[in-house]
Each structure stands twice: as structure tokens, then as C-alpha cells.
């Protein structure tokens, strides 16, 4: 099924008023599961889902639910003072699960800071997902063990890294690909535009995966763009698709199309996954200051999990046993996440100097030496960091 915005279901009025209905109909939006859970056929995209069995559909559902549970637990950890900050991905589960599960292990992911669902599916250790948000490191994991870069907070900067990485894949003659995640706000950044210039010029194996969640903190997407975001890809001569980002199958099919093109030497693809940030930008944000509750209701009706639930129901797969199994798994992951967070060892005082350089540095070595001597004058190094001082 191909729909335009008005056909997405729900009442469009509130959404159009607040978040804009950019550039008219433009690209149609690919949707394979309706919000009511109806699987609609699509001659172009169905072939890319031939191997998605009932069992895999159940497993996709499990990932969606587990990720939502992770998000909820992390938000609670922040409220309890265990995390400094957390960027919820509530509402974007299908965009993240559908895309990451289309990848091969040797494909390389460049995330922003909100791709914690992607990180979970990629096999990143749960405690490592929280490391940055607990303030215990600036990057949580070794990118090479999971082929996923550490989170990027500078908006859009990672699109260039992904492009360069893909240039490397091309030079190596490999058939893997890179994928880069970014949001609607990022498409205004110079780096994202430069990345599309480079990627198109060199025809590198890269998927630009834009989650249009309609809000860049308090700014609606219409402030970022007068046209549909997908048109930005087209403008650079990059084949571009617009998919229902709350539809895990549509996202997976589109990502597979893009990856196949990349592997065959067909260059980059731009995917606009139309989704919605149901929560705040981060736990420090208050969306009630800038958006209507009506809008939230419209999008709640298009929930990415609810529609897979309905689809499984229609297929007779959503048994009590299945539901219990998924809930048990989600709770177990949440417990492990919490334990990993609270049990994470604090960094040592002198870790502040660690890894700035990979080779000795006379300036820093001297500063570290002097600071070590200073610390040694205190019995307890923590006393040395009290703002009001100990003397």
C-alpha cells in the first residue's frame, strides 16, 4: 500500500497545523502494515520480505517490546539519579529495529545519540549503552566488536564519517555497506549536505537513514524544510524513499533495497522514515511547552508496536504463551540493564588523562604527574574534588 500523508490514518489536522505538511504530496509513503495491523501487499517491496517468516515476525515484535522496555527503564534510572541524562526513543522503535535488522554483521553503523534500540539489536552490552549517559565515559563500547560507531552528539557530524567509511569499503573492494542514522533537524546541517555531495560524487555504498520524528527539541520539522525531507536526497541525485517509520516491515524492506543497491555498486540511498518522537527530546526536556496533546494522540493511534501486535493477532500468533514470553524477556533485559548501570565501576581519578593521545605527550604527562602529586596530599582523592574545598 502506498499512501500520502493524509492516508496515514488518524486525524491529520492537528499534525499538519503543528508539524507541517511539507511540500504537498511529493513522494508517496510506503506502508506494509496499517495502523490497524493489516498486512497490505506491495509488488515492489514484498519480494524483499519473502524470507520473513511468522517466527521472524514474532522476533521483530519481541525486539520492539524489549527496546521500549529498555527505554522505560533507562528513563526511570535517570529519574532516580543513576543517569545524568537519557534520550528516549519512544515511538521510533520500528524505524530502528526494521533498519538494523536488515544489516549484515560486516556492515558498519554510524548512529546519532538516540539509536539505543539499534545498539541493543546490534548486540551492544547493556551496561555499555548506558555508560555515556551515566557519565562514566564519553563513548560506551569498542566500535569494532559490533561494527557500530560510538554515539554522536554533534548533530549530523557522523554522516561524513559514514561517507568516508563507505569510501574505504569501496577502496577495499568489499561488498559491505555503511548506514548512518540522523534526524529531521540534522538535514539542515552543512555536514549532512556535504555528506550527500561526497556520497553521490563517489557513489559510495551508504544508506542515509533519516528518522523524521517531526521534532528537533522544540522545533517542528517545517522549520527545517519547506519540502519533504526525502526531496533533499533526490536533490543530490541520490535515489530516495519515503517509508512509514512506524511500520517495521516497510522500514526493513526499504533498508534492504538500499543495501542491495549499495552492495551492487549502485551508490547511496536516502530513506526518510516518517515516525514520531512520542517522548521528550531528552529527560531534561518538557514537550508540553511546545506541542499539542492532540498531536500525541494522533500518533499514538499509529503506534509501531500496536500494529504488529494486531497483525500477529490476525495471524493467530499472539498467544498468551507468546505474550508472556516476550514480557519475561523484556523484564529480564530491564533487570540486567539496571544491574549493569548500578554495578558499573566508577572511573579512577587519573582516567581523566587517559586516551587523549595514543602516543606519549610531554605536556599532558607533566600535568598528570603534577596532579598525581597534588592528589597524594589528600588521604581520599574524592575529598580533593569538593567544590567548597577541604581546607
Amino acid at each position: 500500500m502506498v499512501t500520502d500523508d493524509a492516508g496515514q490514518g488518524g486525524t491529520a489536522a492537528g499534525r499538519d497545523n503543528k508539524t507541517g505538511h511539507q511540500g504537498g504530496a511529493g513522494h508517496s509513503m510506503v506502508q506494509l502494515i496499517t495502523p490497524a495491523g493489516e498486512r497490505v501487499s506491495h509488488p515492489e517491496y514484498d519480494p524483499w520480505l519473502k524470507d520473513v517468516s511468522d517466527e521472524q515476525l514474532c522476533s521483530l515484535y519481541e525486539d520492539l517490546v524489549v527496546i521500549r522496555r529498555i527505554d522505560k527503564e533507562a528513563t526511570a534510572l535517570q529519574r532516580q539519579g543513576e543517569l545524568g541524562l537519557w534520550p528516549p526513543l519512544l515511538g521510533q522503535e520500528a524505524s530502528q529495529v526494521g533498519s538494523v535488522r536488515a544489516l549484515r554483521d560486516d556492515d558498519f553503523i554510524f548512529p546519532s545519540y538516540r539509536e539505543n534500540g539499534v545498539a541493543y539489536c546490534r548486540g551492544v552490552d547493556l551496561a555499555d549503552i548506558l555508560r555515556v549517559w551515566r557519565g562514566a565515559a564519553s563513548g560506551g563500547w569498542d566500535p569494532y566488536t559490533v561494527n557500530m560507531a560510538i554515539p554522536q552528539i554533534v548533530i549530523g557530524a557522523q554522516t561524513l564519517h559514514a561517507t568516508g567509511y563507505a569510501m574505504g569499503i569501496q577502496n577495499d573492494g568489499a561488498d559491505s555497506a555503511a548506514i548512518v542514522y540522523f534526524g529531521d533537524g540534522a538535514t539542515s546541517e552543512g555536514d549532512v549536505n556535504e555528506a550527500m555531495v561526497f556520497a553521490a560524487s563517489f557513489q559510495v555504498p551508504l544508506v542515509f537513514f533519516c528518522q523524521n520524528n517531526h521534532w528537533a527539541i522544540s522545533e517542528p520539522v517545517r522549520v527545517q524544510s519547506h519540502t519533504q525531507l526525502v526531496d533533499r536526497g533526490t536533490g543530490f541525485g541520490i535515489p530516495s524513499m519515503r517509508v512509514d517509520g512506524n511500520d517495521v516491515l516497510a522500514v526493513m524492506a526499504a533498508t534492504r533495497v538500499a543495501l542491495d543497491r549499495a552492495r551492487r555498486g549502485g551508490g547511496p540511498t536516502f530513506i526518510e522514515a516518517v515516525t514520531y518522537r512520542m517522548g521528550p527530546h531528552t529527560t531534561a526536556d518538557d514537550p508540553t511547552r511546545y506541542r499539542d496533546a492532540n498531536e500525541l494522540e494522533d500518533w499514538a493511534a499509529k503506534d509501531p508496536i500496536g500494529r504488529v501486535h494486531a497483525l500477529l493477532d490476525r495471524k493467530g500468533l499472539f498467544t498468551e504463551e507468546f505474550e508472556t514470553g516476550v514480557r519475561t524477556k523484556a523484564d529480564a533485559v530491564a533487570r540486567e540493564l539496571r544491574a549493569g548501570c548500578i554495578g558499573m565501576p566508577d572511573p579512577e581519578p587519573l582516567d581523566v588523562f587517559k586516551h587523549v593521545y595514543s602516543t606519549p605527550n610531554s605536556w599532558l604527562d607533566r600535568q598528570q604527574d603534577h596532579y598525581s602529586r597534588y592528589l597524594a596530599t589528600f588521604g581520599d582523592p574524592e575529598v580533593a574534588t569538593q567544590e567548597e574545598g577541604a581546607r
Binding site: 561524513l160 567509511y165 556535504e194 602516543t359
Partner: protein, 336 residues
């Protein structure tokens, strides 16, 4: 030994790096068929191909940002920023990405990127072509900043920069590109003095004169002129601006008791301030006079008809030497 220009010496060093390591790739604007606007990469694309010597779109952040991605993939990118004044669009990628990635990734991702920047003035160019932005980068944790002053150093230091696992901002004194010198191309960069070490280029006993990049030649000429007046000036070429090899400067100042620092960049918060402060901290009781800075002014780089008033030359450096020695000078009679 071969006579060659400064630019040719870098070209030869780049060629050796490309030859020795298949992961070395060159990226920049006009570096392919044209060989770069200063011809530093002349002939390299022809010999190594378009995938190793890449003509990029005109986007400096894009050049540096894609280099980060290549480094992530295990490459050693060498990027050329065409002129000093054009590096600022790439500032975020250099400061927030290149410089911090090793720290942010807890040492798992190395950034062996060399960022070549022709810098400095004295070539009669229009605005944005003659700047000295080295202090911005020297102030940034995670970067190494170096600048060669002779063809031999240019040849070895570019190879050392490329093989360094940390990112290096490599400033090339553009007004010396055509200066010639003897270069031993067979010199193993691993056995040459490391790029982090300063070099005493003229021995002396009365005053220590610290310079780098384009002003090393001027400083040496000043030392020759001073010798005619009976003043013995020891000239140190810093070579590395971050970190500065203070041990070498300190040893000299302990001997001479007087310190003059010169650079083209504006004075305030410049490299001279760091050298003066650090040397004062390290050997205050060996100093016979306050350190003296002879630098460009705190102005946007001026138009070419007045640029020679901005740039320290031989006489201004000698005037600084006179101040350090307490001899009659342009500021005699002024307090503070």
C-alpha cells in the same frame, strides 16, 4: 643528498608514504591533475591513482569528516586544506571529531590523520590566504601541531606525521615553498629526530631566540646580523607547537638567561605567550630579563601593501633582542 625546493621535499615525503603504506590516501581540492595550487602533490595522482589521491568536492568539513570515516576503516588520510584561511569550515570536524575520537572511544578508534595547511603571509595575496591559525589547534587537546622550517625537515616530518597514530596538523610555511635546500631522501624517518623535538639551529650564548615555520629563516638571518654587532644569539626552531619541547628551550635559556620569541600570528594568547609563561615557570631564576615577544599584531591579516608592517622582519627581531639585552631599543624609556 639532493638539492630541492621545500615543496618538492614534501612531495617526495608524500610519495614515500604512499609507496610504503597502502592505507595512506591523499584528499583535497585540486590535488590531482593540477598537483595542488602550490604543486605539492604534483604527479602523485598520475602515479597512485584517483582512489589514493582524491580530488574532493569543495567542502572543507566534508574533506576532514570523510577522513575521519576513512580512519575508522583503518586508513591513514592526509588531507590538504588549500589555504590557512579556509580551514575554519572544517573546525568542528577537527576539534570535535578528529581531536576527540581516541578519547571518546576509550582508545579503541585511532585517528592517524594528517591535516596539511599552507600557512603564513608575505606572498602578496588577497585576504584569507596568509593567516597563522596555529594557536587554535595547539590549544586543542588531542591534536599534535608541527611545522617544518627546512626542506629536510619537511621531507622527514611529513612522513613522521603520517605514520603517527595521533592526528597531526601539519603547517607548511608557504612563503618558503620555493626555498631550496639539501635533502637526504634516503633518511629513515624513524632514525631522524622525532617531529616533537625542537632543534637548536644556530648556537649562541647571549640570547635565546625561539622561532618556527617561516620565521626560522628570518631568525637565523637576525642571528647573523647580531653577530656582526657582537651579540651571540642562539636560535631554536620549535618544529612542534603542540606539545612544545620545553626541555630544549629551557636548556638554552638556562645558558643565555634571555628569551625572545617570534611568530607571524597575533601576539595575544599566541604561542609566544605559552613559551614565555612555561619557560618563566621552569627557570625563572635563570632569567636576566622578562621574555620578549616579537609578533604580528592583533589584527585581521592585513592587505598586502601593509603586510610587511605586520610581519616580524630582521630589524624588528633585532629590536626585540636589544630589549632582552637591555640595550637601547625602540621602547627605551617606556615603562611596562
Amino acid at each position: 643528498m639532493t638539492q630541492m625546493t621545500f615543496a618538492r621535499a614534501i612531495n617526495s615525503g608524500l610519495r614515500r608514504s604512499l609507496d610504503n603504506d597502502p592505507k595512506v590516501v591523499l584528499m583535497g581540492e585540486d590535488i590531482g591533475a593540477l598537483g595542488g595550487v602550490f604543486r605539492v602533490t604534483d604527479g602523485l595522482q598520475k602515479d597512485f591513482g584517483k582512489h589514493r589521491v582524491v580530488d574532493t568536492p569543495l567542502a572543507e568539513s566534508g574533506i576532514v569528516g570523510t577522513a575521519v570515516g576513512l580512519a575508522y576503516r583503518g586508513y591513514r588520510p592526509v588531507v590538504e586544506i588549500q589555504f590557512d584561511g579556509f580551514v575554519y569550515p572544517a573546525f568542528d570536524q577537527i576539534v570535535s571529531q578528529v581531536a576527540k575520537m581516541h578519547y571518546r572511544s576509550r582508545g579503541t578508534v585511532k585517528m592517524p590523520i594528517t591535516i596539511r595547511i599552507p600557512f603564513g603571509g608575505g606572498i602578496g595575496s588577497p585576504e584569507h590566504h596568509s593567516e597563522s591559525p596555529e594557536a587554535y589547534f595547539a590549544h586543542t587537546a588531542g591534536l599534535r601541531v608541527v611545522t617544518p622550517a627546512s626542506p629536510q625537515d619537511a621531507h622527514t616530518m611529513i612522513q613522521q606525521a603520517i605514520s603517527c597514530d595521533d592526528p597531526v596538523v601539519f603547517f607548511e610555511p608557504k612563503r618558503r615553498y620555493h626555498d631550496k635546500g639539501e635533502v637526504d631522501e634516503s633518511l629513515d624517518p624513524n632514525s631522524a629526530p622525532p617531529m616533537g623535538r625542537a632543534s637548536v639551529v644556530t648556537d649562541g650564548s647571549d640570547v635565546t631566540l625561539v622561532a618556527y615555520g617561516p620565521l626560522v629563516k628570518t631568525a637565523r638571518d637576525a642571528a647573523t646580523a647580531a653577530a656582526d654587532e657582537g651579540v651571540s644569539v642562539e636560535v631554536i626552531d620549535l618544529r612542534s607547537l603542540a606539545p612544545v619541547d620545553f626541555a630544549t628551550v629551557e636548556a638554552s635559556v638556562r645558558k643565555t638567561g634571555r628569551l625572545v620569541i617570534t611568530h607571524e600570528a597575533g601576539q595575544s594568547n599566541g604561542l609566544g605567550a605559552e613559551v614565555a609563561a612555561s619557560i618563566t615557570e621552569r627557570c625563572f631564576y635563570h632569567l636576566e630579563a622578562a621574555p620578549v615577544r616579537v609578533t604580528g599584531f592583533d589584527v585581521p591579516y592585513p592587505y598586502s601593501k601593509v603586510e610587511m608592517h605586520h610581519l616580524p622582519n630582521l630589524d624588528r627581531i633585532l629590536d626585540g633582542v636589544d630589549r632582552a639585552l637591555g640595550r637601547p631599543n625602540s621602547l627605551s624609556g617606556l615603562e611596562g
